[in-house]
């Protein structure tokens, strides 16, 4: 086996704390190549589309698989908040997971190599990103100061050097870049060949386009905010599932004092989706994002919203109030956001924890 990585097989950091959520409508053959890195982890497969199709999971993986029938059975009337015929259905996997960390990856993504030719262990890097602090309050010009071989630069305030907890680790992609349809149409041959050897924190108050292809997050901290919206069949918009979740989650992280990192790890994105199909799917989004982005940039969550779930409920009200005038879709979305939180809380009931001194601790998520 070319590029066989013994270390990776033995490493499998935090394998009991991570669930890997994979939405799929076609095939899971890609998992064969990922075996050295993902073999030890538990998979949650969310099968989109026709539930009668049997999707084969490669031998040896430990997994649970949910198709549309399962989603309907588990959520009942609340199942309508989960997208159909869209990668946004993956957030169902986030909801049913019980682990601390989620890693989600698309089924057309493969192992990439770093400039030295070594295969990239995406899970190990994401875990490193999530387990080390972020620095959203002050930008470090040498990027992630907690990485080996680097540090805070001169002038970086000492009071901010402890950093904050990292909630999201956003990885990148070599080969097919994550472009929108217009850009794809204009640059059909463009490939991302630039390996930028950095992880960095996205500053507080700054939004970014979060791509769901290679994404990890701390479910306990920010899970309820990672709702991938109403997309796909029966909806006027697609390919904005991860965008919506990313903007919402960033606002929630900024409010709660958590950090969001972007950069390494890279994976290899092999399939360019049809740009004409994409244009049809996202064209409303291209216009609506001109309203969605200022909405997120300008909103302020209240002090009382001190958990991700509470933040998200507040966000749903604001969505209804401010974005319905853009399109009635947003009223439906706002309702779906509430449904999502209700479903989340039903599947993840708050656990009353007691500290050793006997005081009750507010539940997470």
């Amino acid at each position: 086996m070319a590029g066989y990585n013994l270390e990776a097989i033995e490493a499998a950091p935090l394998k009991d704390d991570v669930d890997i959520v994979i939405p799929t409508i076609r095939s899971l053959d890609f998992l064969e190549q990922w075996r050295p890195f993902l073999h030890h982890y538990h998979l949650i497969i969310v099968q989109d589309g026709d539930p009668s199709i049997k999707i084969k999971v490669p031998e040896g993986y430990d997994y649970e698989l949910y198709n549309r029938n399962d989603i309907n059975k588990i959520l009942g009337r609340r199942a309508n908040c989960i997208s159909y015929k869209d990668g946004g259905c993956r957030c169902f996997g986030f909801m049913v997971s019980k682990k601390k960390y989620i890693y989600t990856i698309d089924d057309d993504c493969f192992v990439a190599k770093d400039p030295s030719g070594k295969e990239i262990n995406v899970i190990a890097q994401h875990i490193k990103n999530l387990e080390t602090p972020s620095t959203p309050h002050y930008f470090n010009t040498l990027y992630d100061p907690f990485r080996e071989g680097t540090d805070f630069v001169r002038g970086y305030p000492f009071s901010l050097r402890e950093g904050v907890q990292t909630a999201i680790s956003h990885g990148l992609w070599l080969n097919i870049p994550d472009y929108d349809a217009p850009t794809q149409l204009v640059k059909p041959r463009e490939r991302n060949t630039r390996y930028v050897d950095a992880v960095m924190t996205i500053p507080k108050g700054v939004l970014y386009p979060m791509c769901g292809m290679n994404l990890a997050f701390n479910r306990e901290l920010v899970g309820p905010a990672m709702y991938f919206g109403l997309m796909g069949e029966g909806q006027p918009i697609s390919r904005y599932d991860d965008m919506w979740a990313g903007w919402a989650a960033k606002v929630v992280c900024d409010h709660l004092g958590f950090g969001v990192k972007t950069g390494l790890p890279y994976l290899w994105h092999s399939k360019a989706s049809n740009p004409f199909v994409n244009l049809r799917k996202e064209h409303k989004g291209l216009h609506w994002q001109e309203d969605m982005v200022p909405f997120f940039q300008n909103l302020r969550l209240s002090k009382e919203s001190d958990t991700a779930a509470k933040c998200y409920m507040e966000l749903s009200k604001m969505t209804k109030e401010k974005l319905t005038k853009v399109d009635p879709y947003f009223e439906k979305l706002a309702d779906a956001m509430v449904t999502w939180i209700e479903a989340w809380e039903e599947l993840n009931p708050p656990v009353k924890k007691t500290q050793s001194d006997g005081e009750d601790v507010k539940a997470k998520g």
């Binding site: 400039p115 309050h137 002050y138 930008f139 470090n140 010009t141 040498l142 990027y143 071989g149 680097t150 540090d151 805070f152 630069v153 001169r154 002038g155 970086y156 305030p157 000492f158 009071s159 901010l160 956003h170 990148l172 870049p177 994550d178 472009y179 929108d180 850009t183 640059k187 463009e190 490939r191 991302n192 060949t193 630039r194 390996y195 930028v196 050897d197 950095a198 996205i202 500053p203 507080k204 108050g205 700054v206 939004l207 970014y208 386009p209 979060m210 791509c211 390919r239 904005y240 991860d242 965008m243 990313g246 972007t262 996202e282 291209l286 994002q289 001109e290 982005v293």
Partner: protein, 350 residues
């Protein structure tokens, strides 16, 4: 954009000479400085004569020149690392590139010497994107673009005010950090340029920097002077303060600040442990500066860079003056700087 496409007449390379012998420095930069006009400003406290090799289009300024232009009392504003600001003051060019005299060209991962001057000018000539973060970094460079989800209305970008480069070998770490990690050297070449988002604060280093003088020249203020300021970067914060002012004003006026490429190779110099022995008040000043800049709002009526600096100076005096005399002095220096800028540059304007 290659060096052939850059208009060299629009650029001044300003070097603050804290070392008398610039032979090694200039010789190593010759391939990239050639064809450009150089302004070398000698630290007024440097006693020896400067040693400058032949073959450069260079104007050298020393204490005498400073006193002629700004008067003897104001010349003290330009001592130590701040000497290069005199070069910024008297330059007539659109772009300034400024590199510390202990830096030489770095090598990229392919082994080629990095043309820092060209990279800086490319950064300055292309728009910045401070209002939304692009996950593929600089969308204007070859092989990259804006990613899905990036609002189209923001894709024209804004003018780039400054380009902050980085350093291989001796990174710009502070004395405590370098003293703790004596062997640590920066070997990581991060192949990206990016815009630092609006409202985000950052420590801007003066070691390897370029800016659009026409756009923001007056905002590069030689103002904050540490009581024990020395002749190594570990013993100064003038550039960090300048950078905080510059970023804040750029944000206010809707300009962008980029960071990342180009790298320079920073030679070994000084002793971090030795610098650490000095009473290090810089730390305290930084801690006080951060909340100040975080909450500061310049008035909407401040539309010119000069006005922004004056308003900033006023706020510094009001809100930080009582905390430390260094701040009052900085505020006064900022006001004085604008007076000098206006007088020097109005006589230059036709």
């Amino acid at each position: 954009m290659s060096s052939a496409e850059i208009n060299k007449n629009e650029v001044d390379i300003v070097i603050g000479a804290l070392n008398a012998d610039l032979t090694q420095f200039l010789t190593s930069w010759r391939p990239f400085f050639s064809g450009f006009h150089l302004i070398v400003v000698k630290d007024p406290e440097l006693k020896e004569e400067l040693n400058i090799p032949e073959g450069f289009d260079v104007d050298v300024y020393s204490k005498t020149d400073m006193e002629k232009v700004v008067g003897a009392s104001n010349a003290t504003m330009f001592s130590g690392y701040s000497c290069r600001y005199f070069g910024y003051l008297i330059s007539k060019k659109k772009y300034i590139v400024s590199i510390d005299d202990d830096c030489v060209p770095a090598k990229d991962p392919k082994g080629f010497l990095v043309d820092a001057v060209t990279q800086h000018v490319i950064n300055l000539e292309n728009p910045a994107t401070p209002l939304f973060f692009n996950t593929l970094y600089d969308p204007y460079c070859e092989g990259a673009d804006f990613v899905r989800g990036y609002p189209f209305s923001l894709r024209s970008g804004v003018p780039c005010a400054a380009s902050c480069g980085l350093w291989l070998n001796l990174a710009d770490l502070d004395a405590p950090t370098q003293a703790l990690k004596t062997e640590q050297r920066n070997t990581s070449y991060v192949d990206a340029v990016m815009t630092v988002p609006a409202k985000a604060m950052l420590p801007i280093s003066g070691i390897n920097i370029a800016f659009n003088r026409e756009l923001v020249g007056p905002a590069l203020v030689p103002a904050l002077r540490l009581a024990g300021e020395g002749k190594v970067r570990w013993e100064t914060l003038e550039d960090v303060w300048c950078g905080m002012c510059l970023k804040h004003i750029s944000d206010h006026l809707g300009y962008g600040v980029k960071t990342g490429l180009p790298y320079v190779w920073r030679n070994e110099r000084g002793d971090a442990v030795e610098s650490l022995r000095k009473k290090w008040e810089g730390m305290k000043l930084m801690e006080k500066s951060v909340p100040f800049f975080e909450s500061l709002k310049l008035p909407e009526t401040a539309l010119k860079v000069e006005d922004c600096v004056i308003e900033l100076a006023k706020a510094v005096k009001e809100q930080l003056g009582s905390d430390d005399p260094a701040f009052t002095q900085a505020a006064d220096a900022m006001v004085k700087w604008i007076q000098l800028w206006n007088s020097v540059n109005s006589s230059a304007r036709s």
